[in-house]
C-alpha cells in the first residue's frame, strides 16, 4: 500500500506527535508498505529518507501558546506537488485541527483521507473562528482516529462525529532485552519526564525516596529527562542528594538501557497524563512499574495486575510500596514478566495492523488520492506559481 502521512509540527523539535509519526512510518515500512511523510522542518538535512520537506515552521501564537506551524501559498504548493507525485492509496493526516500542513493537505486532496486526533483540547479556536473552513476540510476525511478516550471526546463534543480508538504504540523491539546501562550500588529507582513540571510529580517521589534511603542506604534514584534539576533538588538534604543520579535528557537507545537497569520505575504523575506511554516503555524494557492510580495508568497496568498502583500524590504510600517492591525479588520478576506480556497488545506492529484495517475499509473501491483543484483560490494561485517555477527551470 502507498501511504502518505502529513505531520503538522516541525520534525526536528521533540514532541509526542512527531515521535508517533516516526514510529508509525518506520513500522509500516518494516511491514513492506511504501510510506512518505511530509513535515515542516527547521533543517532539511536532518530528515530521514522517507520524509519530505514541507517548509520552514514559523512561530505563531495559537491556542494559548506559541506553536511552530507551516502554512501559506508556498507550503500549499509543496503539499500539492507531494500529493500529485506521491500517487498514494491513502492519505493519513495527523492533528487535522491544527492550522498547519494537515489542513492544507485536506484541502488539496480528494480520495481516501484518514486523520488522527491526538490533542484533547477543551475548546479549539479553529472550530470557533474558522468553523466553516475547518468543517469543509474535515468533511473530506473518511475516517477519524483518536489516540485516547480524551481525544475521542474532543471529536464527539466538537465535531459531532465519532472516531475509532487506536491507542499509541511502543516500539517493543527497541526496548525488549535492552542491555542495562550500568549497575547501581544498590536497588535503583527511576523517574522519567520533565523534572520541573509539577504534574510529573517528582516532588512526591523525592519525599518518598528520603524515606526509602533511610531504610536502604544504598538505594539510588535515577532521574531521566529534561528540565532544571537544581531547583527541584534544592530542598533535598545532602545525604539523600548523594543517592540521586541525574542522567538528564537522553536518546532513545540510552533511555531503553537506563530503564532496563532499574529495579523499579516510578510514575508519580498527579494528572494531565492521557495515556502513559512511558509506562509501556518501562514495561517493555523489563522494569517493574510503580505508578499513581490515575485512570490512564490503571488501564495500562490492567488494574494493577501488571504493575503496582498507589494513591495519587500520597508520598507515604509510595514509600511503603517502594520498600515492599524493592524487598521482594520474586514480586519484581512477576511484575516484569506480566509487563512484557501486557505490552505486546500495545506493540506498534499491532497498532499498525489496526491502521491497515482502517486504510482497507476506506480505500475499498476507490482509485487512490488525487489532487483537488475545485473551488480553491489559494490552490489555483499555488498551481500557477508552481507552473511558472517549472517553466523557469
Amino acid at each position: 500500500m502507498r501511504i502518505g502521512i502529513v505531520c503538522p509540527y516541525a520534525w526536528d523539535v521533540p514532541g509526542g506527535v512527531q515521535a508517533h509519526i516516526r514510529d508509525q512510518a518506520e513500522t509500516l515500512i518494516d511491514m513492506g508498505h511504501a510510506v512518505s511523510v511530509i513535515t515542516p522542518v527547521e533543517d532539511p538535512a536532518t530528515l530521514p529518507a522517507y520524509a519530505v520537506d514541507g517548509g520552514r515552521p514559523r512561530p505563531v501564537p495559537y491556542n494559548g501558546s506559541v506553536a511552530r506551524l507551516t502554512f501559506g501559498v508556498k507550503a500549499t504548493a509543496r503539499v500539492r506537488r507531494w500529493i500529485r507525485e506521491g500517487d498514494f492509496d491513502v492519505l493519513h493526516v495527523h492533528e487535522p485541527l491544527a492550522p498547519s500542513l494537515g489542513v492544507l493537505a485536506c484541502w488539496a486532496a480528494r480520495g481516501p483521507i484518514v486523520a488522527t486526533v491526538h490533542s484533547s483540547q477543551e475548546r479549539s479556536r479553529v472550530l470557533i473562528t474558522g468553523y466553516y473552513l475547518a468543517q469543509t476540510a474535515l468533511e473530506k476525511i473518511s475516517a477519524l482516529i483518536a489516540v485516547s478516550e480524551h481525544a475521542r471526546r474532543t471529536i464527539v463534543d466538537h465535531l459531532g462525529g465519532d472516531a475509532v480508538l487506536i491507542p499509541n504504540g511502543v516500539r517493543v523491539d527497541h526496548y525488549l532485552g535492552a542491555e542495562p546501562l550500568r549497575t547501581w550500588p544498590g536497588p535503583a529507582i527511576g523517574f522519567l519526564g520533565r523534572m520541573d513540571e509539577p504534574r510529573k510529580g517528582l516532588a512526591i517521589l523525592l519525599a518518598a525516596f528520603a524515606g526509602v534511603r533511610a531504610r536502604m542506604p544504598t538505594a539510588t534514584l535515577v532521574l531521566i529527562g529534561p528540565g532544571d534539576a537544581d531547583e527541584v533538588l534544592s530542598g533535598v538534604p545532602a545525604d539523600v542528594r548523594e543517592g540521586i543520579v541525574i542522567l538528564g535528557r537522553v536518546g532513545e537507545g540510552e533511555k531503553a538501557r537506563a530503564l532496563a537497569s532499574l529495579d523499579a520505575y516510578v510514575a508519580p504523575n498527579t494528572g494531565g497524563e492521557s495515556f502513559g506511554i512511558v509506562l509501556l516503555e518501562a514495561m517493555a524494557a523489563g522494569a517493574p512499574v510503580v505508578a499513581s492510580d490515575l485512570d490512564a495508568f490503571a488501564r495500562v497496568l490492567d488494574g494493577g495486575r501488571c504493575g503496582v498502583l498507589f494513591p495519587v500524590g500520597d508520598s507515604a504510600a509510595l514509600e511503603s510500596t517502594l520498600l515492599a517492591v524493592l524487598d521482594d525479588p520474586d514480586a519484581r520478576r512477576r511484575l516484569t514478566a506480566a509487563g512484557v506480556r501486557r505490552v505486546a497488545a500495545y506493540d506498534w506492529r499491532t497498532v499498525a495492523g489496526d491502521l491497515i484495517d482502517v486504510y482497507a475499509s476506506v480505500t475499498a473501491g476507490q482509485s487512490g488520492v488525487r489532487e483537488d483543484l475545485r473551488g480553491q483560490i489559494v490552490g489555483r494561485l499555488a498551481r500557477r506559481r508552481e507552473l511558472g517555477g517549472d517553466d523557469a527551470s
Binding site: R110, T136, S142, D162, D357, S361, G365, G375
Partner: protein, 183 residues
C-alpha cells in the same frame, strides 16, 4: 448618493450570498460522493466477509453442525445483497450472530487454530469482521455529516441537494467474534 451606497451594499451582499451558496453546493456534492464511496466500501467488505465465511465453512475447519449454519447464513447474506426480498441488514446481522456463536471466546479460537490446516484463515476472518465494523461506522459518519448540511434552512429552501435521496444509515449488528478480537 446614498442610493448608490445602497445598491453597492446590495450587490456586495448578493455576491457574498452567491459565493456561500456555490461553496455549500460544492460541499454537498463532496459529501454525497463520500457517502457513495463509503457505501461502496461497506458493500465490498460485506461481500468479502460472506465469501470468506463460505471458504472457511467448506474447508472443514468447523464441526458439521456449525458448518451448515455458517454456510446457510452466508448464502442468505449473499442472496440478500442481490435482491432485496430479505432486508440485507437482517441477513448480515444473522451472519454476525452465527459467527459470534461459532467463535465465542479465546479458548475456542485457540482450539480452532490448533486443528486448522491454514491458521491464517482465522486471522483473515478477524480482519474482515473488523473491517466490516469500521466501514459501517465510517459510512454512518458520512451520512451524519451530510444530513447536518442538508438540514440547514437555506439548503432546504433552495433545494441545493437537488434530487439526491435523503441519505440513510446502515443498521446491522456487526460485532466481530469475541474469540478473535480479544487480546
Amino acid at each position: 448618493m446614498t442610493l448608490w451606497w445602497w445598491i453597492l451594499a446590495a450587490a456586495l451582499l448578493l455576491a457574498v450570498l452567491g459565493l456561500y451558496l456555490s461553496m455549500t453546493a460544492g460541499r454537498l456534492d463532496r459529501l454525497h460522493r463520500r457517502i457513495d464511496t463509503s457505501r461502496h466500501a461497506l458493500d465490498s467488505q460485506l461481500l468479502g466477509r460472506s465469501a470468506l465465511v463460505l471458504d472457511v465453512a467448506s474447508s472443514g475447519l468447523f464441526d458439521p453442525a456449525t458448518t451448515v449454519v455458517l454456510a446457510d447464513s452466508a448464502h442468505a447474506a449473499r442472496a440478500a445483497s442481490e435482491d432485496d426480498v430479505v432486508p440485507r441488514g437482517l441477513a448480515e446481522s444473522n451472519l454476525t450472530r452465527v459467527l459470534v456463536e461459532a467463535i465465542p471466546d479465546v479458548s475456542e479460537a485457540d482450539a480452532l487454530r490448533e486443528v486448522a490446516a491454514d491458521p491464517t484463515m482465522l486471522d483473515d476472518l478477524r480482519g474482515t469482521c473488523v473491517r466490516v465494523q469500521l466501514s459501517r461506522r465510517f459510512h454512518n459518519d458520512a451520512v451524519r455529516a451530510c444530513r447536518q448540511v442538508r438540514r440547514q434552512r437555506l439548503v432546504r429552501w433552495l433545494r441545493l441537494a437537488g434530487h439526491t435521496p435523503w441519505p440513510e444509515t446502515v443498521e446491522m449488528d456487526d460485532t466481530p467474534p469475541p474469540g478473535l478480537t480479544a487480546r
